[in-house]
Subunit: 120 residues, 2 copies
């Protein structure tokens, strides 16, 4: 893990990106169109969602299928590899449910004690 | 999870940062000095390690203790909250052990098929 040449030091890339985790969760029950992903992912801009989907496609997590209709229909779907992310995502969500409030409380206290460090 | 006002959409911040995860793992068996962290974390610059430790301190994961000696001794130690990160970190490491090669293979294939997208 601590050898920079070891590929696992590149991990956990996708998990660390909240948008990627959200896309994976949104695709759990089947393929979705771009517009269908935007609805549950309130707050995501089209640009960020496009970048997130492309990164997930590049990493083999998501497929992008264009159906030759008029207008063309484009659907995103999890691959088998994408489905393997449910485990670590669930662990992170369980952690957040149990401990995120403690983290936010610590952060607020730290920022109050050292105002110049806020947002660092 | 999908409400931007919900604090859990801020997660999993620390987990997603590989340096933070490495620091937490390095502190598993007790307090360490800055120089002692640099040894196992080959490749980390002093600047990045300083930023990582400050972020972990801000999030209540790590304490920084200055001992009034000459020269001053500074030690970093996991808090109880920091120890709660072992679970999600282990899940991410298990994921990487099982699937990271598949991800890297997919990425290389994608970059070969669409060279302009490489490194995106």
């Amino acid at each position: 893990m601590f050898d920079p040449a070891c590929p696992s030091s590149a991990m956990p890339i996708r998990i660390g990106d909240k948008w990627s985790a959200m896309v994976i969760v949104c695709l759990e029950h089947g393929p979705r169109r771009f517009s269908e992903l935007r609805v549950p992912m309130r707050g995501v801009t089209p640009k960020v969602l496009t970048q997130t989907l492309r990164a997930l496609e590049r990493d083999g997590m998501v497929t992008r299928t264009v159906y030759p209709e008029i207008p063309p229909r484009v659907e995103y779907e999890l691959t088998d590899l994408g489905r393997t992310m449910f485990g670590p995502i669930a662990a992170c969500r369980a952690w957040a449910d149990a401990h995120l409030e403690d983290l936010l409380r610590a952060r607020a206290a730290y920022d109050q004690a050292t105002p110049s460090a806020g947002g660092a």
